[in-house]
Symmetry: C2
Subunit: 452 residues, 2 copies
């Protein structure tokens, strides 16, 4: 039943496009969901996707457009006049998607398109949505919702729904408001279905519906909908008036993007890229962190350079440079990842920074002592230098403790300063800990070789 885009399917389709077999193409597309058609268009080149897009029915084409990747949507829309965008696209999609599509257009065209929208209410809804930051509840919400007055009877409510059902596809809740449009609560559809039609809304609706303010951060919206298992969430303005609703599918995208962003940061990738992007796009997203690593490596070289003479006398000191650097990096990444994840999930708990650091110290001590013992045992057996054996173990323990503390503290401090804590993960923390590890290693080394 599900569509699965294969290389075989794609090459057959390309052949049909080349031979301009419109009947076959139309038939093929009719069987597919707009999301599947979008997946196909994303995988085709410019000419092929334009050709395929042109044969789609207007309503389907509009829905497909919403699902496309941004660059594909951009070049498909480039051939549309503002009038066509208003009539053929915007008129066929929901207000939140419409605002997203318009926001991507060049500034001068945005206003033109809005002016050309025939329905004045739709035009003002979209213009309103465009005023919100895309990372807030206002930027996620849609204007399509069914609001009923608490003084109405259920029958009037059903009539209002029938009137609006043409416009709104999926209704998950009916919002109850007072005469000033202030949100009072909600009424579920099945409640509506089982209530006698002369009952007053006031007597059957659920009070205290969970809602968010238009300026609430998108990530917080996601955490709220996830925590309370909500499918739809009403949005209110300063006065408590109902101004829109957010549905869970938009929030799923926020959750996925947020998780991806943190993951990519931790992996040293700056932009939002996919493995199917072009080589130079991928290179550009990866280069910045590599350059940071390079600078870190140069610092590392300078630190080791300070100990050139020691290395000449005790070349075995060089053997464990990678081990010390790598372990510092690993511990730092582990610690910072836990903090970043806790921030993303809102699951840091109520512990203070101090108690988090004390706990991290405990973790670092446990793991540091185990790792140091293992490497000490190895060196006592395989190395004939007691000074080296002790240096490596003491340095390793110190590095693990330092790295754990830094890995915990830096993202927490960034978060306090309202900077994205994920910045502190990946190559950044690795690089700092590499350098720190080298300093600790050589300082302890000189000390040990002096003593023994």
């Amino acid at each position: 039943m599900q569509f699965d885009l294969t290389q075989r399917y794609l090459s057959d389709l390309k052949a049909s496009i080349r031979s301009d077999d419109q009947a076959l193409l139309k038939k093929g597309m009719e069987e597919l969901h707009p999301a599947d058609i979008a997946e196909i268009l994303d995988a085709l080149n410019k000419d092929e996707s334009s050709a395929l897009y042109s044969i789609l029915e207007e309503e389907i084409a509009a829905e497909v457009l919403v699902e496309l990747e941004e660059d594909v949507r951009e070049y498909l829309l480039a051939s549309f006049s503002s009038k066509e965008i208003a009539d053929q696209v915007i008129d066929n999609i929901e207000s939140d998607d419409a605002a997203d599509v318009i926001a991507e257009l060049p500034d001068e065209i945005q206003e033109e398109v809005i002016k050309l929208i025939e329905d004045p209410e739709q035009a003002s809804d979209i213009a309103d949505l465009l005023t919100y930051d895309e990372n807030t509840a206002g930027g996620l919400m849609a204007k399509e919702l069914i609001a009923v007055n608490k003084d109405w009877a259920v029958l009037k409510c059903v009539k209002e729904m029938r009137r609006q059902a043409e416009i709104i596809d999926d209704v998950y809740a009916i919002y109850v408001v007072d005469d000033q449009e202030k949100l009072l609560g909600l009424l579920s559809l099945n409640r509506l279905l089982i209530t006698p039609t002369d009952t007053k809304i006031e007597d059957v609706y659920e009070e205290n519906a969970i809602s968010v303010h238009v300026d609430t951060d998108a990530e917080e919206v996601a955490n709220i909908m996830d925590k309370y298992d909500l499918v739809v969430l009403p949005v209110v303005d300063e006065k408590g008036s109902l101004v829109g609703k957010i549905t869970i599918d938009d929030v799923v995208d926020v959750i996925k993007e947020e998780a991806e962003k943190d993951y990519q940061m931790a992996s040293g990738i700056t932009d939002d890229v996919e493995s199917s992007d072009k080589a130079w796009v991928l290179s550009k997203a990866r280069l910045p962190w590599l350059l940071i690593g390079l600078v870190g490596g140069i610092f590392g070289a300078q630190i080791i350079g300070l100990y050139e003479h020691d290395i000449q006398i005790y070349p075995e000191m060089a053997f464990f440079i990678p081990l010390i650097a790598a372990m510092g990096g690993n511990v730092g990444v582990q610690s910072s990842a836990l903090i970043v994840q806790g921030i993303a999930n809102n699951s840091l708990g109520v512990e203070s920074i101090t108690s988090k650091l004390i706990k991290e110290l405990g973790v670092a001590l446990i793991n540091g002592l185990i790792c140091s013992a293992v490497i000490l045992a190895y060196n006592l057996v395989f190395s004939d230098s007691l000074a080296l054996s002790l240096t490596v173990s003491v340095a390793l323990l110190s590095v693990i403790i330092f790295a754990g503390i830094f890995g915990t503290l830096i993202p927490l401090l960034l978060h306090r300063a309202d900077i994205d804590a994920a910045l502190a993960t990946g190559p950044f923390i690795t690089t700092i800990n590499d350098i720190l590890g080298l300093v600790v290693y050589f300082v302890i080394g000189r000390l040990m070789y002096g003593i023994i």
Copy 2:
């Protein structure tokens, strides 16, 4: 409006628990959502949470139980008899949650509880749900759904809904089946509301509803619901009969867990832990990767050991050991992260492995040449050894290329072999690339110093 758990709130609450002020506690809990109460219980110690849990009303207590962390639920349920679990907990929650709660109980109690459930239909539903793997559609689905026969009129359908509305809280869709219970399609609630009551279901329902098989993998379920923006998804068995439905809130948990798992793997954390877990739990989850890193470091030491004599003569060779190792690790993590993310999102595209490798080669060449040029410029200015300058740059370029290829190839091959590709990220790929980098560096070094 939202509840925010603060340290202040928690310490006031603990004081009320100590002074056993039941009236105050009851009043405080009445104002809260079950998810908030669960958050509080998770943050209390055993005695405090047991005391607070005991004052909750039965229905709320059951809902709270579902939201708790597993270990808290376990010790709260430990004081319940099987009869109490059946009557007070299972009877008050939906079938999917009930199955999850029962699945966590000791084996001998599981059967006892199921036998003690009063409603035989509920008992058999739960027993059925317990047979599915928790990572499949069957493990995610609930049995509560409204199915109507295609031959019924809308009026009968509304009556059926009214009958079932007592049991089912949120209805998002009505499923249409034939006489053999085979799923034919669905009917949205607003469609039902606006259709004249004497219309036959057959004439108004939507055919070709997207559905999944009971054995479909949970991750695929998540991808399908995300792709097609579904709030609820019907589940069918081999014969196409409707056996359950999955709601988006359960899938959001799957998406979050999956993203977290990949992130933790990439950060070198094995178990599903949170920063608020105890120190020894965190240590245990982090130690395995550290030990892998340690073994990698020992291999690295042995490789450098082979070149001890060279280092004694050219100690400056040691300076760039951390740079080469770190850059190999960084590139490997970048490459593997993109593949793992592509697998998780189902966005790898239709490219073959070969074309992915060719692209990665392109990325590695671009970034490798830039980084090598930067470090060559640095060394030509600050180092007086031409051999060293050339060694570092040539080795860096080679390492970036090797690391990119390995980072791409290993997760793709693991995925082909049905092993979790995320295993190939983080410390694993870093360690391999560290060792590889050292070998390349010293081999090229010996060559360069021999030539120049």
